[in-house]
Assembly symmetry: C2
Homo-oligomer: 156 residues x 2
């Protein structure tokens, strides 16, 4: 009866979650926590956090865009983006180049090293995606989730 001893003293299963059980915000937070932790764990070889990864992706697909457009695309404050870019620029993954038309703004580009790191990241993301697929009940459920979540918020 080893199975019994494993459950011995596990009090969590007796917790009554009340209205949290069907609370979208609560389950979103729990799910996001799991996904981000798995992402960070998977990305440790490259030392890339989710926000840093998404910065690289957006710059790669929209080279030359301004910081304010980048912040808008990611849904973060432009003040917060400054520190993010400082770190990535320190690691020689991104470059702030002077913008041609507006001397206030910067044109964001990936360095060659940034492109290389992003390529490696995409490989690891594939692994991470497999873990998510399993955790969330297969490709159908995964795609349903993404569709229901993405339809509302992108540009906010």
């Amino acid at each position: 009866m080893i199975a019994v001893s494993r459950n011995f003293n596990v009090q969590e299963s007796t917790i009554d979650y009340g209205p949290l059980e069907n609370d979208l915000g609560y389950v979103l937070r729990r799910a996001q926590l799991w996904v981000f932790q798995d992402f960070i764990r998977t990305m440790t070889p490259l030392d890339l956090r989710p926000a840093q990864y998404s910065v690289l992706v957006i710059i790669h697909h929209n080279p030359g865009l301004s910081q304010i457009a980048l912040a808008g695309a990611l849904g973060i404050e432009r003040a917060r983006l400054v520190r993010l870019l400082d770190q990535l620029e320190e690691r020689k993954l991104v470059e702030r180049r002077p913008a041609a038309s507006d001397r206030r703004s910067h044109a964001m580009h990936l360095t060659r090293e940034g492109e290389r790191v992003l390529a490696g990241a995409l490989d690891l993301v594939a692994t991470h995606r497999l873990a998510c697929l399993e955790e969330f009940g297969g490709p159908n459920n995964y795609e349903t989730l993404v569709r229901l979540l993405a339809k509302f918020g992108a540009p906010q």
Copy 2:
């Protein structure tokens, strides 16, 4: 042609999100951000944040439980819970009572005022839920989301 002038200079719609478009972590974060912001906005009359609300809910449904069980139920560190409870205790919403069987541990209870605030919070949460229903495409989509997100993570 007012509609045209409103869209003038909106660059965001031309952004290419690349793989983020179908990235569960990315859409989870965007969705959670929206839901939490709406929650906080709706709760301003009671000045309750999502974490504080869930503490009240769990204690109400599991009176007398220990801090470590509470932290486990919420998926937060017990060290983080200390500050959360300090604030709620300062506001006279919760009480740490000495536990009967173990003098190291506390039995958590809501005060009468805590019960009153929770009741008011549940009313506001109903409003918040309506906003979410609309934002996420109606009750069917909402329930599908909750079901797909909740099935995996609760006790983690």
